[in-house]
Structures are given as structure tokens and as C-alpha cells.
């Protein structure tokens, strides 16, 4: 039963009427072992694990058998790797990029693969539309950039740098310090998580509306409804294309912002 739940991309509960209208319940997980007391082992966890396995497997596959003159596989791997290494890590972090490069590579790949699950026909669900996964990555970035800053400047040196930009007149400290603190320590991780989550949540919801709504309309007797349903299903193709773009974009943005936050923590100047 558990495996059947995996391969049939059904949303929500079992009853037909619970599918419509789409809502928060469209994002409910299906336990793989119902009634076994391990309801947290659901299809979302499964696809998150699958995503991790794919990311690790593909990268290791791309990283092995390297030669000085690359073949097709190595060339493709290096193209992707170079975007992350030179385009993001080195451009933003400067000469210290090497330390944080694995984190950024892992981050981009893991988010990208999980986002693309939203368009993958067997799963049809982006993992990060579950906010817990988004929070987890945002927390890691939060821990990482703070740890990097503290390791470089010490606790007080780091706090001072992060809360008080240079050249602020003392009269404004009362305003600036809380603002900077809120911006750097509260707003950053929350926006990071919510941006990723909200984009994928909304994207998935739109896909559900178009696909399921279209199918529902197509089943109606009226010819007008059938026409509208057909148009909706055709439109869903465009929505899929958009969602693939959003999946890549959000993975990229999350990675770039993480790099940016790390860079601001270890930067010499404000």
C-alpha cells in the first residue's frame, strides 16, 4: 500500500470531493506505512531522501573519471560546477570562496532537484512547498553565516559589525542597532525560507488548479465547460514551463543569497 501511494500522484485524501477545491490539504503527505505509528515517514520524506540520493549520486558520477582534457560527461559537469564555483561562490565570496563552495554546490543541487520534483510526472510535488524543509535549509544558512562571522571576528566583533554600520552618528544608534539586528538576524533567515516555500507552494497550487480543475471541467456535461477544461489543460503546459523556470530560479536565488549573507559576515568592510 505504501509503495502504491508513491507511484500514484494523488493529492489529499481518498474521497473524490476532498480533492476539490485545492487548498492546504493538497499539500498533505501520505504516510507510507499507515497505522504503523510512523506517520512521519510519508511520500514527502521519501522524495526528499530520493532527492538527496540523486544529488549525491549524480555529482559523484560527474566528479569521477576526470581527465585533463574533459570528455562530454566531464565537460557538462564542469559547466554546471563552474556556474556555482565561479559565477556564485568566487564572485560573491572572493578569495575565501573555497571553504563555502561545497555548501553552495550542495544547496543549489538539492533545492533544484527537489523543486523539479514538482514537474516530475511520478512525484508531481515540490518538496520545498512543505515549509519544514525550507526552514531547515534557511536555518543551516543562518547557522553557517553566523558561525563564519564569529569565527572570523569573534562574538563581539561580529555583533558590532552586523549591527552597526560604520559612520553612523551615535544619536542614531538607538534606531540603527535594532534595525540592523532585525534585518541581519531575523528577517534574513525568515525571508530566505519563506521565499522558497511560497514560490513553490503557490506554483504547485496553480498547477493543481489548472490540471485538476481542467480535468474536472472536462468531465462536465456542458460543452462550454469541456472547452474551458481543454483550455485549462493546454494552459497547464505553459504553467509547467513557468514552474520549471521558477524551480531553477529559486534554487539559484537561495544559493546566491546564502553566499551573499556569508560574504557580508566575513567582509572586511561594510
Amino acid at each position: 500500500m505504501g509503495l502504491l501511494g508513491l507511484v500514484i500522484p494523488m493529492e489529499g485524501g481518498e474521497a473524490e470531493d476532498s480533492h476539490w477545491p485545492p487548498g492546504v490539504h493538497s499539500f498533505d503527505g501520505r504516510p507510507l506505512f499507515p497505522g504503523a505509528g510512523v506517520d512521519w515517514i510519508n511520500n514527502h520524506l521519501f522524495q526528499a531522501v530520493l532527492g538527496a540520493v540523486i544529488v549525491i549520486g549524480v555529482w559523484i558520477w560527474l566528479a569521477n573519471g576526470h581527465k585533463l582534457v574533459p570528455g562530454k560527461k566531464q565537460f557538462a559537469g564542469e559547466q554546471i560546477y563552474n556556474v556555482l564555483r565561479n559565477g556564485i561562490a568566487r564572485d560573491i565570496l572572493g578569495h575565501e570562496y573555497r571553504k563555502f563552495l561545497p555548501y553552495l554546490v550542495a544547496l543549489f543541487s538539492f533545492i533544484l532537484v527537489n523543486n523539479l520534483f514538482g514537474q516530475f510526472f511520478l512525484l508531481m510535488f515540490p518538496t520545498f512547498s512543505k515549509v519544514g524543509y525550507a526552514y531547515a535549509l534557511a536555518m543551516l544558512t543562518f547557522i553557517l553565516y553566523n558561525a563564519a562571522g564569529i569565527a572570523k571576528w569573534g562574538v563581539f566583533g561580529y555583533l558590532k559589525r552586523m549591527t552597526l554600520p560604520e559612520g553612523v552618528p551615535p544619536a542614531l544608534w538607538v534606531i540603527i542597532i535594532p534595525l540592523e539586528f532585525a534585518s541581519n538576524f531575523i528577517v534574513r533567515p525568515i525571508t530566505l525560507a519563506l521565499r522558497l516555500f511560497a514560490n513553490l507552494f503557490a506554483g504547485h497550487l496553480v498547477v493543481v488548479v489548472f490540471v485538476m480543475g481542467g480535468a474536472l471541467l472536462l468531465e462536465q456535461a456542458s460543452i462550454g465547460y469541456k472547452l474551458a477544461g481543454g483550455v485549462a489543460l493546454l494552459m497547464s503546459g505553459a504553467i509547467f514551463a513557468l514552474e520549471i523556470f521558477v524551480a531553477v530560479l529559486q534554487a539559484y536565488i537561495f544559493t546566491v543569497l546564502s553566499a551573499q549573507y556569508i560574504a557580508s559576515s566575513i567582509a572586511e568592510e561594510h
Binding site: 566528479a63 573555497r98 561545497p102 519544514g132 535549509l137 543551516l140
Partner: protein, 180 residues
């Protein structure tokens, strides 16, 4: 209460998801850091080293070629100088040899001349010696004859002398012809 709340409000995370996301990403991070990034960086480093090595080798070869060319040119210049020097030497040597030869020839000719002169002198003195001896004898003979006949006839005496001189001359001719 949280799970049901998570079901209602999508912003409240389900704790298992949070933990799963955390743990899974740590695993991915570890794997990438351990097995992927070092491999790529290793390849890049090797490639950089090879390219740099190639450039260095090319530069070295170029430098070697330049050194060889310089050496060659220097050698050529030395050889030219040497040749010029040898020519110059030969010229001066030729001149000196010529002068020496001339001096030697002059010396030789002088020596030959002196030798010839000395020989001539010796022969002459020998001839004079012989002549003196003969003239003494002849004079005595002549005197005897003159004394023997002068009393009779002056004319005869004169003829005798003439004859004597003619004899003398023929004798001298005979002597010189004998000598030669």
C-alpha cells in the same frame, strides 16, 4: 497540537520535516564536500599546473634557443677574429720571411763574391810567385846571353832581346793556355 496546526497553516512546520530536511541536507553537504568538490578542484589544479608547466617549458625552450643563438654568434665572431688574426699573422710572417730570404741571399752572394775574390787573389799571388821565379831565371839567362854577345854587336844584342821577349810571350801564352 502542532501536527494538526501544521495541517491547517502551511507556515507552521511539521517537526519531522524540519529534522528530515536538516539531516538530509547535512548528508548532501558532507558528500559534496568530501567526494565531489575536491575531485573537481583537483582536476582544475592539475590542469592549471599542466598549462603553466607547458608555458614554462615553452619559455625555457625559447630561452635555450636564444642562448644557443648567442653562443653560435659569439663563436662565429671569435672564428672570424681568429681568421683575421691568422691572415694578418701570415701576412706579416710572409713579409718577414721575404726579408730574411733576401738578407740570406744577399749574404750568400756576398759570401760567394768574397770567396771568388779570395781565390782570384790566391791564384794571382801564385802566378806572381811563379813569374818571379821564372823571371829571375830568365833574367839570368838573358843577362848571360847579353853579356856573351853584346861585345860583338849591338844590333845582335837588340835582336836577342827581341827574341827573348818573343819567347817569353810564347811561353807565357803556353803557360796561361796550360793553366786554363
Amino acid at each position: 497540537m502542532l501536527p494538526s496546526l501544521a495541517g491547517e497553516i502551511p507556515l507552521i512546520p511539521a517537526i519531522p520535516e524540519l529534522i528530515a530536511g536538516f539531516v538530509l541536507f547535512l548528508i548532501v553537504w558532507y558528500a559534496i564536500a568530501k567526494f565531489v568538490v575536491p575531485k573537481f578542484e583537483e582536476t582544475y589544479a592539475e590542469r592549471t599546473a599542466v598549462i603553466q608547466g607547458g608555458i614554462e617549458r615553452a619559455e625555457k625552450a625559447q630561452a635555450d634557443a636564444a642562448t644557443a643563438l648567442n653562443d653560435y654568434n659569439a663563436q662565429l665572431a671569435t672564428a672570424r677574429e681568429e681568421a683575421a688574426r691568422i691572415r694578418e699573422e701570415a701576412k706579416s710572417q710572409g713579409t718577414s720571411i721575404l726579408a730574411e730570404m733576401r738578407a740570406q741571399a744577399q749574404e750568400e752572394s756576398a759570401r760567394l763574391l768574397a770567396h771568388a775574390k779570395a781565390q782570384i787573389e790566391a791564384e794571382r799571388s801564385l802566378a806572381v810567385q811563379q813569374l818571379r821565379t821564372e823571371v829571375g831565371g830568365l833574367a839570368t839567362t838573358l843577362a848571360g846571353r847579353i853579356v856573351g854577345e853584346s861585345l860583338d854587336d849591338d844590333d845582335r844584342a837588340r835582336r836577342t832581346v827581341d827574341r827573348f821577349i818573343a819567347d817569353l810571350e810564347s811561353q807565357a801564352e803556353q803557360a796561361s793556355g796550360h793553366k786554363v
